[in-house]
């Protein structure tokens, strides 16, 4: 194709509310559009599509495409890839942005290949240099950063949560929300079962205070101490992948490159070495406090306050001090 123009942003929502990641993607799209030119078009799938399209206007979209097909309410690779392909072919953008979620990780790679390009996954930043888009993404577990250009158009990128700023909501923005139908496709996959993982307390992504534990804790029981501290601080408990792999805490608590990305005001890392894969999950934390026996631990390079101490004696004492402050 030729004459690719502007940016197509796949937006999603839950219970009628546009996701915060969608707003971040739209913010990124607006900034990129300043260099690339063209319009920012939001696209949404399913019953809520027209509403999400309208909400997207307030966050920076110039217009929206709503594929209001109820068969798209639930993500399935076959029909979302087909719908995304149909919309992209019609809209002909220079760049497509998808959120780096479980859906995005599954959708973007196949969609990109199908439309003759390749996806740059988990991008944290974008810049336009002489009309060329550069996409920045972490690699080597977050130890390095890489910048890519796309030789084929459109460029396709997934955007990491909390990496980009959304615009301030502006409900005075107007634009066309047009509906589009796509041909139905055969869906060969069948969902046999779904299981909610019981996680107590608030979602890590929403927590303002997180107390997190790593391999150095030594046991599952150690997390009880972190629970007590978290409760005293009104926060949630997280973990590094090492602690999850060791079976000390459920996978829903995992923070890092292949876990959750969190943005608390205060992140207390207990007996966590600071491997880049873990740091990848906390770059958005406002203040990091690290407790580690090893003064050389990498976590201290990324912390505001560091305590070189054995958590076994430090944490109970610290919990007590926090209680006294109340």
């Amino acid at each position: 194709m030729a004459n690719e123009s502007g940016i197509l942003v796949l937006v999603t929502g839950t219970n009628g509310q546009l996701s915060s990641l969608s707003t971040e993607q739209l913010g990124a799209a607006r900034r990129i559009a300043e260099g690339l030119g063209g319009n920012v078009t939001a696209v949404a799938f399913g019953t809520g599509a027209p509403d999400y399209g309208r909400q997207a206007l307030a966050y920076g979209a110039d217009d929206a495409i709503a594929v209001e097909d109820p068969s798209l309410d639930e993500y399935r690779n076959e029909n979302w890839t087909a719908a995304m392909t149909a919309v992209a072919q019609e809209r002909n953008p220079a760049l497509v942005l998808i959120g780096q979620t479980a859906t995005g990780r599954d959708l973007a790679p196949r969609f990109a290949i199908r439309i003759g390009t390749a996806a740059a996954m988990d991008c944290v930043d974008f810049e336009v240099s002489n009309g060329t888009l550069l996409m920045t993404r972490p690699c080597f577990g977050g130890a390095a950063m890489a910048k890519y250009t796309s030789k084929t158009l459109p460029a396709v990128a997934t955007v990491r949560p909390k990496a980009q700023e959304p615009l301030a909501q502006d409900t005075s923005r107007t634009g066309e929300v047009r509906t589009m139908t796509v041909d139905a496709v055969g869906v060969v996959s069948q969902i046999l079962n779904r299981e909610q993982v019981q996680s107590e307390g608030m979602r890590l992504e929403d927590a303002k205070v997180i107390v997190s534990g790593g391999r150095g804790l030594g046991s599952a029981e150690a997390f009880a101490e972190l629970e007590t501290l978290a409760k005293t601080l009104g926060g949630a408990v997280g973990a590094s992948r090492a602690a999850v792999d060791l079976g000390w805490i459920p996978l829903t608590s995992q923070i890092g490159l292949t876990g959750k990305v969190v943005t608390p005001d205060l992140y207390i890392a207990v007996a966590i070495s600071g491997a880049s894969q873990h740091l990848a999950g906390i770059t958005g934390a406002r203040s990091v406090v690290a407790i580690n026996k090893d003064a050389e631990a990498d976590i201290f390079k990324h912390s505001r306050f560091g305590v070189v101490a054995d958590w076994k004696t430090f944490i109970p004492a610290f919990t007590e001090e926090v209680r006294k402050l109340e």
Partner: protein, 267 residues
């Protein structure tokens, strides 16, 4: 059942930060002398997933497939030692420095050449570039279904079932064969080969193919055939501004930290 496991040899992710170096001009990671490359962890778990399926079915042929230079032989050996039957090594300078597309194309041609493959297993992402696209690219190019980022894979009733790891839930999906499934660390620990198995691995067949063997021309593969172009590779600078909390005892440190955090309005 014929299973292909795609594995990759990568720089050791346990390389400490101070030993991790990048050659910015060459846009490559400089191998750390004390940390030899390893099989990508999620790929080793993919081999484990294949072995569990074969154990459950009581039959099956497992082929390790790896694209890489000579050093990829080590990753292949791990797979063979764990219990895979044979291997295919895609070894050709033209294959190197590809992106998800050109590497996926090369792997998918190899899978077609192997023939009769029911299930392709990969790790969810290689622990060097962390893209997480290879398995899905193979599936798209072969026109077959895929299930990504899974913690459990089974074969039953002529179909494949896999449990996807989602943010707060698990979802079991079933697709017909042939298909691609990528696995995550939640699947569990890969089995540790015993010495007799490691020795046996040396006798297993490793077939080597080049671009010509796959009917691919040099401009279709590797860096030349890639759709994404790597423009820069660097280590982000981190200025350490940590304030260490002093104290003669943990109790003293605790008091000081609590005070400082209260002063900073963090608690």
């Amino acid at each position: 059942m014929n299973i292909v496991c795609c594995v990759k040899q990568v720089p050791d992710p346990e390389t400490p930060a101070r030993a991790f170096k990048v050659d910015e001009a060459a846009k490559q990671v400089v191998p750390a002398p004390g940390n030899p490359p390893v099989i990508s962890q999620f790929d080793q778990i993919a081999v484990e997933a294949a072995l569990r399926i074969r154990d459950a079915l009581g039959e099956g042929t497992i082929t390790i497939l790896s694209l890489g230079p000579d050093s990829a032989r080590d990753a292949i050996k791990v797979g063979l030692a764990m219990g895979a039957d044979e291997a295919v090594h895609l070894n050709d300078p033209a294959f190197l420095d590809g992106d998800g597309y050109s590497t996926g194309l090369t792997l998918s041609k190899a899978i077609e050449k192997i023939g009769n493959v029911d299930l392709i297993l990969t790790g969810r992402q290689a622990t060097d570039w962390d893209f997480g696209v290879t398995g899905l690219t193979i599936a798209e190019l072969l026109g077959i279904p895929s299930i990504s980022i899974t913690k459990r894979v089974t074969a039953s009733g002529g179909k494949i079932q896999a449990e996807r790891v989602l943010a707060d839930s698990y979802e079991t999906v079933e697709v017909p064969t042939p298909c691609v499934v990528s696995v995550s660390n939640e699947l569990g620990e890969p089995r540790y080969p015993k010495l007799p198995q490691i020795m046996q691995a040396a006798r297993k067949q490793v077939t080597v193919w080049t671009a010509a063997d796959l009917g691919l021309s040099p401009d279709q593969v590797g860096k030349v055939g890639a759709r994404l172009s790597l423009e820069a590779l660097y280590i982000p600078q981190v200025e350490s501004k940590v304030e260490f909390i002093e104290g003669d005892s943990p109790a003293e440190q605790a008091t000081t930290l609590a005070r400082k955090l209260r002063e900073a309005k963090l608690i």
